[in-house]
């Protein structure tokens, strides 16, 4: 006999889903509305606002910047994070416990604080150009995620496999590339995706580090909303949403979502 589900539970589930999905549907509707203001339900159907994104040069520029920063920042975070996660796991017993905590600490510090302190130190203090300051900021922003996800992957890696390779005559550095890396590939891919999405969607850190002529997409969306209230915003939001969904589908198909969430 099937267990009867309490009607209240069904109702609660529906309400929660409406709250979660409702705004997305509204944004989606508004993005195709044939009006010059945000309207839902949409009046008429047009893809004009999607074209409009590309017409506004600020959007065009910030989309390119956002992708550059996200790709380069994530790549740099991987270059630092993979060896760090490896060392933390390989020498777990010899290293003090607080060291691995130190590496994930930035997750706990409010991003707005990180943004401000980076502005003070590297932008104003050292006079680093805006783009590179932004890049450094995003690298630091995503580094803790990279280290955490790859550490999780390395935690189940048996280091005697590495020792077996070394005993068979493989040099330690070569062993790292031929034996260790191939076995944490899925962790690295998961870290890359999580870091990329975090970087693309970031507002707090970017808010402080963007400067004259160089901005990221989320910051540009904020700036745009302050002046205009046309459906272009809705269509940009839909694009960002689609990007995230596509990435998630790829992750689900290749690794399973648990690779990112665990």
């Amino acid at each position: 006999m099937a267990t009867r589900i309490h009607p209240l539970l069904i109702l609660m589930t529906i309400v929660v889903y409406i709250f979660l999905i409702g705004p997305l549907i509204i944004i989606f509707g508004a993005s195709v509305s044939d009006t010059t203001f945000l309207a839902f339900p949409p009046q008429g159907l047009t893809l004009h606002w999607f074209e409009n994104i590309w017409e506004i040069s600020a959007f065009r520029r910030t989309i390119v910047t956002s992708f550059q920063v996200a790709l380069l920042g994530t790549a740099m975070a991987l270059l630092i994070g993979i060896p760090a996660a490896y060392a933390l796991n390989r020498h777990r017993i010899q290293l003090p416990g607080w060291l691995s905590t130190l590496f994930v600490l930035p997750i706990l510090i409010p991003e707005i604080v990180i943004g401000f302190s980076l502005l003070r130190s590297i932008n104003v203090g050292l006079g680093v150009p805006v783009f590179f300051a932004l890049l450094i900021g995003h690298t630091l922003l995503v580094l803790p995620y990279v280290i955490r996800v790859i550490s999780a992957s390395l935690a189940s890696f048996d280091f005697s496999i590495e020792e077996a390779a070394i005993s068979l005559g493989s040099r330690p550095v070569k062993t790292f590339f031929t034996i260790v890396l191939p076995n944490v590939r899925s962790g690295i891919l998961a870290a890359f995706i999580l870091a990329f999405i975090t970087s693309i969607n970031d507002v707090s850190v970017s808010l402080f580090l963007t400067g004259p002529g160089i901005s990221t997409l989320p910051i540009q969306i904020l700036a745009h909303v302050e002046q205009f209230f046309d459906p272009t915003i809705a269509s940009v939001s839909v694009l960002l949403m689609m990007l995230t969904i596509i990435v998630m589908i790829i992750v689900e198909r290749t690794l399973g979502l648990t690779a990112v969430t665990k």
């Binding site: 048996d158 005697s160 496999i161 020792e163 077996a164 390779a165 070394i166 005993s167 068979l168 005559g169 493989s170 040099r171 330690p172 062993t175 034996i179 191939p182 076995n183």
Partner: protein, 353 residues
């Protein structure tokens, strides 16, 4: 080509903790020596020092004429077999076995040929294209063995290789390991905590405790002539009785415990007996009798347990609690007053410590 291993006065530390003290050990050419002991005794540390994964504080390790002490692990040319197999999960069985040959820059055709030959010797040639994840525990350990042997190392080392296998397979595998080691004539160092495994597979066994070798001997000698209380207790001499010689009558020696329990022993069986000594016996080495005229230790029987082949008694004596086995034909009740007479076939004489 195979070489003798000599470990010369090795001392090792983890941080500030001393884990090995002044340990020396020689494994002859083609010999298999086991390091046997409880966890934390230093046996795995010794193996890791030889492998090059740890550095000694002082001392030297030599393989033939070559000094290994400061050589990096990848240059030591030692075949290693691990407890958890340590196969490369992303490589096929054949490529696992060929890995060491690849490091030695062999052409790929020659690599595959030798890997397949070695897999054939361990009976797994038909699984060459599988991934390790598809194999059973026993098959994995055979692949690991093939991978270690195919590089024709002058020294093979095993770190508890059978601990993850079930009991039946463990016996089969240890015979197989021994046969392969013998056939290749490879010098081997074998770490285990399982006494039966160590005794059955080894030419000589080193029994270790807190970073030292307590005794290094053939299994037969260890089993019959332990050199000290620790080894005696380890190989099953559960009763250790302190005795003083009171009189000598030719080869017969009369001795007594501090509370006056009397024992008579023959030096013909047990070798020279010093004036003060420890008599070590297994539970089977104390005969339980109620014959009042027998010379032995008076005892009060405590709890009786059934072993299948005998009854075992906890015995309260003036020399402390002893364990004795009695025949099934004449069971004694708990509380009975009896005499314990040592059976020299199950006894050993130790120096007092």
């Amino acid at each position: 080509m195979t070489l003798p291993l000599s470990i010369d006065q090795i001392t090792a530390h983890y941080g500030t903790t001393k884990v090995l003290e002044d340990l020396s050990l020689t494994v002859g050419d083609g010999e298999l020596v086991s390091l046997l002991g409880a966890s934390g005794c230093g046996k795995t540390t010794t193996l890791r020092l030889v492998a090059g994964f740890l550095q000694p504080t002082s001392g030297a390790i030599r393989l033939g004429d070559k000094d290994l002490t400061r050589l990096p692990a990848h240059g030591r040319d030692i075949g290693l077999v691990f407890q958890n197999y340590a196969l490369f999960p992303h490589l096929s069985v054949k490529n696992n076995v060929a890995f060491g040959l690849k490091q030695r820059k062999l052409a790929s055709g020659e690599r595959d040929k030798r890997a397949l030959e070695m897999l054939d010797r361990v009976g797994l040639a038909h699984l060459a294209d599988r991934l390790p994840g598809e194999l059973s525990g026993g098959q994995k350990q055979r692949v690991a063995l093939a991978r270690a042997l195919v590089i024709e190392p002058p020294l093979l080392m095993f770190d508890e290789p059978l601990s993850n296998l079930d009991a039946k397979l463990r016996v089969d595998m240890r015979v197989e390991i021994r046969q392969l080691q013998r056939a290749n004539g490879t010098t081997a160092l074998y770490v285990t905590h399982d006494q039966e495994e160590a005794f059955s597979i080894s030419d000589r066994v080193a029994i270790m405790n807190s970073g030292r070798i307590m005794q290094l001997d053939t299994p037969e000698t260890l089993y019959q002539r332990p050199a000290n209380k620790f080894v005696a207790h380890f190989v099953g001499f559960e009763n250790l009785i302190d005795l003083q010689v009171t009189a000598r009558d030719g080869e017969m020696v009369h001795a007594q415990t501090h509370d006056g329990g009397k024992i008579t022993l023959s030096q013909e069986r047990l070798g020279a007996i010093p004036d003060a000594f420890v008599l070590a016996t297994r539970p089977d080495g104390l005969v339980v009798t109620n014959d009042a005229s027998a010379t032995g230790l008076p005892a009060t029987l405590g709890m009786r347990t059934y072993l299948g082949r005998a009854y075992q008694y906890q015995c309260q004596t003036g020399a402390g609690q002893l364990i004795a086995n009695g025949s099934l034909a004449t069971p004694f009740e708990s509380g009975a007053q009896v005499t314990l007479v040592p059976n020299p076939d199950q006894c050993a004489i130790l120096q007092p410590e």
